[in-house]
Structure formats: C-alpha cells, structure tokens
Symmetry: C2
Subunit: 133 residues, 2 copies
C-alpha cells in the first residue's frame, strides 16, 4: 500500500450565520463562485439546488478537486468542504473569502490531507482569531 | 452557538486499485451511479471530468447532500467523500458498493458527523474486515 499526500481538504462547519444570507441560491451563488476565484481555483462546472422553502446545496467540480456546501438556514449553519490537489493556499483563500462574506459567529474546521488520511489538524475558534497560514 | 448533528460523512482513501478500473470516465461512471442507487440516495445531478491521459473526478449532488471522488490511476488511489443528511445507512451502503466494485487492497476512512464536527471515528483496515454497521 503506497500512501502519499495528493491533496488537502478543509472540512468546516460555520455557525451563527444570518439565515437570510443562506436561504436562497441567488445570494449564496455569488459568494461561492467568487470564493473559487479568490482561491485561484479552476472551475470545471458547478451546480446549485434550492430546497423549499429555504436552504441551498451546491457543488463545484474543480480541476484541482472540489468545493461542496450545504446550508441549514433554520440553524444558521453551513457545512463546507474545500479540497484541492493544487496549491493548498488556494483552499485557504477560498475558505477565508467565504467566512468573510457569510460572517459566521463561530467556525469549527479540520484540515486533512488525502492519500494519507490520518494526518490532520483540528481547530475550533471564532473566525476573528482564525489564521490559516 | 448551536451545535447539532445534521449529517454523516464518510471520508475515505482507497488504495491498491487496478489503474485500468479508474482511468476512464466510462468505467467509473457506472460504479458511482450504481453506488448512489445502492445507498438509496436521491440524485439531483452528477458531473464527471476526464483528465488526460487518465484520471477521473466526479461529483453527485444529492437531495441528502453529496458524493465526490477523484482518481489517481498512477497511484492506484481513489479519494471518496459520501455525505448524507438522510439515513446514515445510505452512506454505508454506497461506500460498501464502491469497495466491492473497485476492489482496493486497503481502505482508510473516517466517519464524521457534521454540525458538531469534533465527533469522529477512524478506521484503517483491509476491506474484507470492514464492517460498517
């Protein structure tokens, strides 16, 4: 069994977001697409789904892997995965962009490597204290 | 900050897969789409991307969240995420189906809950010893 790092994945739960911000696709869409650009990631395709009466899911297929999110407006919650096999800084920049725009009161996240899954880092922190680099 | 479980995510690295099995979209596509059905998950949409000369990425947007995978034929590696906010058994069944079809020699996986990210279970095991339930 060959184990080697092929990519980095940020797995994050964002809490305390204004429900209005994450209820409808039209508002979330712009944040996510801009986050992909902020991370200098290469979009292949993206798809979004509007739940009724509110809530959004979306996935972005990247040349570098993927970004996926799901919103629970009733809990002020967004769960987010950003996975890149390119420069890990790209995932950090996308993540920071989403936090800046969605303004969660709290963020819990792990950063894991893929291809050797055991290594990881876990942080629970309010976003203002979160420094990724 | 309200923390509550909204879903379960399997994060898995599958090693030792025959490179031919995971080089081209046409072969991987059937396994993934059938895995979604095996888990009784509800597909909203799916998209696959063929890398040159080989390697495939794919994402399936589910009513229950998402499934995403990326293949590295040169390493015999598939990284896989299956995330469901429905019955957790659906993720297990999809995962087991993919393992059965791709026949990795080794599997490393975590099962985490979303909405309270800290709880998790990690297993490193050859697939024949892997019992999810």
């Amino acid at each position: 069994m060959m184990r080697m790092v092929v990519g980095v994945q940020i797995i994050a739960d964002l809490y305390g977001i204004d429900p209005e911000m994450i209820s409808k696709t039209d508002r979330v869409y712009g944040i996510i697409e801009d986050a992909v650009r902020a991370g200098m990631l290469t979009k292949i395709s993206s798809d979004y789904y509007q739940f009724q009466p509110r809530g959004v899911s979306g996935i972005v297929l990247l040349a570098e892997s993927h970004l996926a999110f799901h919103t629970w407006p009733e809990h002020g919650l967004v769960t987010l995965d950003i996975y890149t096999c390119g420069d890990p800084k790209g995932a950090d920049l996308s993540f920071e962009y989403i936090i800046e725009k969605m303004r969660p009161t709290n963020v819990e996240f792990k950063k894991i490597t893929r291809g050797n899954l055991i290594t990881e880092e876990v942080r629970v922190t309010p976003p203002e204290n979160m420094i990724l680099q």
